[in-house]
Symmetry: C2
Subunit: 413 residues, 2 copies
């Protein structure tokens, strides 16, 4: 099964909105072995939309359409569908009623503009949208499916995963099997070399993909086809071998984030965490609290951005700052102990670096980041050299700091 | 002049990479009045790339191509160009030499793979890439321009703005004039109503655009055409009228962020800032330090995520927490004063809320956020009700908190 994506909306063409929907669709379809052949973005113009349908229909079995379903006059996707399928718009009482009840239960009044939204092509099969008012619409033509979804990302994702995916899975006769290993702290090239003896032995229908992000790499083994159960076993045993070889760098399998993984570790060991941040100014703490329920293990901490606050809030010695500077092993050690002293948490992480663009020296260039992790007794430190981009340096520092915490917990507790 | 974008790369189709380049291009071209007609994404396959060229050439005067210029075997954009323009690849000594020198000055050794990268179509005009090794390539065919850039965002942006834009500006005979007002704290619909008497009087060739983001709206007046100097004056005078009407909600003009604007205010008044964060866990601090040079006014602060740390680190009264809870006016007031006491900064912001998904009650639903801003003497507070999405609630809270700071400084200093 080959898929195409058509995203509709002037806001994408003028660069006001970044199209994240296509990546969401690409990821989901990829999981079940459906290949995206092309992605096309066009304006809110009926003729452009119709040309888009026809351009994609030539080469795709399923066409996913996002955008242009709202109640405003710009939103003309349904008119384009009606014309393309030689159809007419009729008022759909049933789906209007569902939306009306949802609206009124939240205390809103239904307005005329909302009724207009339920003038829909008669040939479309409608799918209820639990996250908004515009339903999903499925059209079929000579074996090709067209599925229309709103452009709002969380509504799109809901209709995609809860409505369309089950249909595609049922109609797609290819079985797909994935296993994903989550690693941190080693680059893609080094990983690929380490596991080459394993990936060389993957069965011919299986494949390996390296999915890198800042400081972390996911390694995915996939196999797709019919009757894959024997190869599945082979893939599983090779996967376990890989896991063994990379053990120190592996933090999990599947889809967790590193910060929620360290959260699980802290919870399992009954440990409370605090942070002492300099160059990241709060990004480490914020990354930790993005995980719902983080209050079970995250206490808080201190943003000691200036020299003065390192002394005042954390008790870093002025003589340390004067002799070796804020970006040094000794300073992050004192920050780490300092934040334990003031919060009484069990473990803590500290981080101090030169995010750039200014502040670099030949000895400590932009991108130099020191970090420490420990408890009231022990402390381990690490120095990294990130890049030149201020925001990326902060993000990379946070990944490395979370990895240091992971290693500290695994070693000590 | 009509433009099209062709993005090349399997990583986009499988959803591993979100295509941010198209939005960057859309924004830049929009500024000089060039309309993007469509955006097409295809795989790293020569035939698909060539089909893409031909699909866009039909309707576009300039085609911007991103991706597929690296040294690996996947990168076949240049082969597609050579075939499409009936050209051949020749080794370009001059541009190889430029890249070699850059490489060696950074201590890297040039490898065979790098030489291959300079086997380039002979008909292309090459543009040096200061951010990487692959040069930009410009092809011309029957009045249509094709410009090829690497997919790495900062390299793409550099070649776009520093190399291609001057060419497009010189060849585009339309004059374009924009003025953008930056507002915060009022929604798009309310703003549109307030300024309707003004926008109704815009000259016929001028237009207004509302560009909303979380908690903030940019309002842009544009005019494009030939001989626009008279209308430019009219637009300027209407713009100034709008600025007057919206004064309280305006934080600037052009392209600044709210956090760098408050940074400028703090610097101008010689004030040092600290923060006390609960629900945002560091996002407020991190948003402030994203601006380079923020150490001139940002001291740091306290992440008091748990009840205990609000008491320990900030001196919030246990009785306050027991009687009105952490998400309350009294608590954010005590946090605001507490962080002034421990940091001795001039002004401070505090924030405490229910980010969700858990923790909501009928009286304090998910999305309830209290914030305070003040100095050692005065304090103003605000309560907002954000939405249901944890991360969006944090981001929205930060924008509102920065706006409260802006208002406090303007009122008090």
């Amino acid at each position: 099964m080959i898929a195409g994506i058509l995203t509709i909306g002037d806001e994408i063409l003028i660069g006001q909105t970044i199209d994240t929907n296509s990546a969401t669709i690409g990821k989901e379809l990829n999981k079940i072995g459906i290949k995206i052949k092309k992605i096309l973005s066009v304006a809110d113009e009926k003729n452009e939309i119709i040309k888009g349908f026809s351009a994609l229909e030539d080469s795709c079995d399923v066409i996913l359409v996002t955008g242009g379903l709202g109640p405003t006059k710009d939103d003309i996707t349904k008119h384009a569908f009606a014309e393309y399928f030689d159809d007419e718009l009729v008022f759909n009482e049933e789906h209007f009623e569902i939306a009306r009840q949802k609206f009124e239960s939240r205390g809103f009044k239904v307005r005329e503009a909302h009724r207009v939204q339920f003038q829909l092509p008669s040939k479309a099969k409608l799918y209820e949208n639990d996250m908004g008012s515009a339903p999903g619409m499925l059209f079929r033509k000579n074996g090709t499916k067209f599925f229309s979804m709103p452009g709002v990302p969380h509504e799109m994702k809901h209709l995609l995963t809860d409505r369309l995916m089950p249909i595609l899975q049922a109609e797609n006769d290819v079985e797909v099997y994935h296993r994903t290993l989550l690693t941190v702290g080693v680059g893609e090239t080094a990983l690929a070399e380490k596991i080459e003896p394993i990936t060389n032995r993957l069965p011919s229908r299986a494949s390996v993909a390296f999915l890198p992000s800042l400081g972390a790499v996911k390694i995915r083994f996939s196999i797709s086809g019919t009757d894959i159960s024997n190869e599945k076993e082979e893939v599983n045993s090779l996967f376990d071998e890989m896991k063994e070889i990379l053990s120190d760098h592996v933090y999990g399998e599947g889809d967790t984030t590193l910060s929620s993984h360290v959260g699980d570790l802290l919870k399992a060991k009954g440990l409370k965490l605090s942070v002492a941040e300099s160059c990241t100014g709060g990004l480490l703490g914020n990354t930790l609290v993005k995980t719902p329920g983080s209050s079970a293990y995250f206490e808080g901490g201190v943003l000691s951005y200036s020299y003065e606050q390192k002394v005042k809030l954390l008790g870093v010695k002025q003589s340390t700052l004067d002799s070796v500077g804020a970006v040094s092993e000794q300073t992050v050690k004192e920050m780490q102990k300092g934040v334990i002293n003031v919060t009484h948490s069990d473990v803590s992480i500290s981080i101090s670096g030169i995010a750039g663009p200014g502040g670099g020296t030949p000895e400590k260039p932009v991108g130099t980041i020191w970090m420490a992790c420990g408890n009231s007794d022990k402390c381990i430190t690490r120095k990294i050299l990130a890049g030149k981009n201020r925001e990326k340096n902060m993000e990379y520092g946070v990944v490395q700091a979370l990895n240091l915490l992971r290693q500290f917990i695994n070693e000590v507790y």
